[in-house]
Amino acid sequence: MSIENTAVPSIATAAAMHGAKDNVIQTVSDATASDTVGRTTADHATRSSHSLLRNPLFAGGLAVTLAIVAACLAAPLLTRYAPNDIDLNSLEVAPSATHWLGTDALGRDIFSRLLYGGRMSILVGLAAVALQIVIGVTLGTVAGYHKGIVDAIVMRISEIFQCFPFYPLAITIAAVFGANVWNVVLIIGVLQWPGLARLVRAEVLSLREHAFVDYSRAIGVPTWRILWNGLVRNCIPVIVVNGTLAVTTAILSEAALSFLGLGVSQPDPSWGNMLSSAQNFRVLSYEPWMWIPPGVAIALLVLAVNAMGEALQEHVRPRFGYIADIAPSHRH
């Protein structure tokens, strides 16, 4: 998975789930079109995307996210220095016209590292959530559909995962298996799936009672088909909303692990390991250009993605409509 083809966090994941729709807006409206099964109207889908974009929370979040992602992708065009170039003549210089955000202890350009580091942070966020979705949706769907013993086993496993505090466990695993990007993705993905699995399971438990699932079972449609067409595709609103919110958690977790030196390892930049320079008291007190930019970047991206997630959540919540009861043929 490369950064280039995962333009916007959760939406790209949703598109992947749904079958390669690359138009962002279309995918969002698709995902929310049938938030209440069978109770929607034709215009609901178009209305959804319009009103979603008109929601300032969503529009603002989307704009900020897109800006940050675009800047990170365009890093080679926007920066004059390679992120890992060491310049011993300008160590720890303050922001200036030559180094816009100053340099770090090895004379590397902070602005350049910020943009390249952003790629890493976003990649980890997306990849970890993709892993969570694969594990969580699979187990949640299977558990919810089969109920009984399968459900009991999956739920007990998820409880075991949930009963360990995240950071001590993540730190231990990272220390044992070594600090690198893919280990961070694995740790976050494997430790964080139970939340999504439980949400999907709850949704599937109610979806499986719908007559369209009964129909497929009665005529003998293979189970994997029922799981995919009947259940997973109808869970997309839940997956999109919670996937979006999970991206923020994953980005923060990456930052925390890298800050502790257990995530993305030097010399490759990430927002988390850039922050680790602030472990030094002198840097913290007198050289704020080294840690303020990555800190602000993390905060901005997390807030923006969170805002989108909140807006999506609000949007897919079923509401009582009078319009849906009125036949479309007599609009005028």
Binding site: A33, S34, V37, G38, R39, T40, T41, A42, D43, H44, A45, T46, R47, H210, A211, F212, D214, Y215, S216, R217, A218, I219, G220, V221, P222, R225, N229, G230, R233, N234, I236, Y322, I323, D325, I326, A327, P328, S329, H330, R331, H332
Partner: protein, 573 residues
Amino acid sequence: MTDATEHAETPALSVRDLDVVFTAEYSGDSDVHAVDHLSFDAHAGEVLAIVGESGSGKSVTVQALLGLLPQYASVTGTLSTADERTFDLSDPAQLRDLRGTHVAMVFQDPYASLDPVFTIGRQLAEAVAVAEPSLDRKRVRDRVNELLDDVRLGDVEGIAGKYPHELSGGQLQRIMIAMALAEHPQVLLADEPTTALDATVQQEVLDLLYSVCHDLNIATIIITHDMGVVADIADRVLVMHYGRFVEHGTVDEVFRAPKEEYTQKLLAAVPSADGTDHVPESKSGEPFDDVKPLLDVNHLTVSYRDRSGKVKEVVHDVGFSIRPHEVLALVGQSGSGKSTIARSLLGLNPLTQGKVLIDGKDIFALRRRERRAVQARFGIVFQSPSESLNPRLTIGDIIAEPLRFVGHMNRKDSRNRALELLDTVHLPADVIDRYPSELSGGQRQRVAIARAIALNPSLLIADEPTSALDVSVQAEILDLLRGLQRRIGFACLFISHDLPLVRSFSDRVIVLHNGNVVESGDTDELFTHPHQDYTRNLILSAPVANPRIQRARRSERSNSPSNHPIPSKGTIK
């Protein structure tokens, strides 16, 4: 415009120029004109029925009168009462004075309207205390008992101390009426008050509404889509279509000589239970006696173990057989086990005992692969088309599902076959790429039928295929099913609670009650000469769209008040 307003005395409620528009902001691209300049009067001691199909604006009308519409609805018009107060309907705050004191409401679903954690008595007492704050405790209790007597629940032992879940649907709807009466209203609004109830229970509630209206001299407005209900209790009828006034008149005028084309269409769509429109040629009509049965069900028993571990038997030792090309109807009220039988045949819930033979082979003894092949010979149509079509799939994918995953057709062939099937059910080819939410209820049910016949079934199982649809659409769907049945020649297990429908569609009928077969036989024979009291009462309790017949039945009932022997469980459907 002829308005529904001519009458001698001052009306209890008079609505002028009611207009409701749902603004474009909410509804999408255009404004929706839900009610178009409607005027009508309701008089004390009279039942006014507002009739229309879904989307006619009848429910919106009632909600506008109570000020219950959401903000994005723009409402204009006035409402005046018998004491000559006039209210502006565009101002919901004004209407607060009106609600409860002058106008009371009975909603469709009593389960949703009562609080499950308080006793009936307490909830009634609360309504009484709100209506008459000056009453002391004892007087409130007396008033509650009086109200229970008014709705003829006074002699049910300890009813005031019971919780909603301990009562039947019919009893709960009576409690709702009692609550409405607590406030001494002059106008009672009832929005589809019996739609959620079984036929026999429906009759009790209608009788009660009828007597409340006439004995307590309350103007009653009942909203309904059911012409039988209208014929049964209405004095006057107002017909609406797409928010517009269509026709108004006394019940006899409207039923005997409907002036407008739409009203005629509406009345023509109702199958009549007395069999007057019954054409025998519409059925396959062949002699069946010497044909080997297609489906043979023997000693079918289904039981559940409930939470406390008690075994509850919902279907008890039921046996029947269906011959090729035959339509067999399973009839009964909710809780009679008719849907459970269908689900068991489809393998959706396990049988406790019994055998289901297809062409002499026991399906549940077969191995999985063989069973699949047998299942592929079933076509299935469920009650609610919006529930039974996956909202995420296009119509094409929905119809192709059995073709591809059961019939193992490739994508291209299945699409062509889907197009053919759409044509068979009279849908335009371009719906193939649309989603179910873009179709109307009737169109969705056509899609469900197209899917059901995709694999040329030898048996179609139709579980209440029309009961979620509007009356005029019901007739179309039934015609379609009948035509297909004759053309393709599948046998059909037709499950319904709607007796007129069963009479016009099926060859043989099995009447079920509490999981037991009460009676079975040839349709005409059974409807004209039912052997069991239960069957007779079931036939009589379905209201017929004929005011004369309904009046005769009502007077017969009131002459012999003990003649309500249906041991109804009265559950909600």
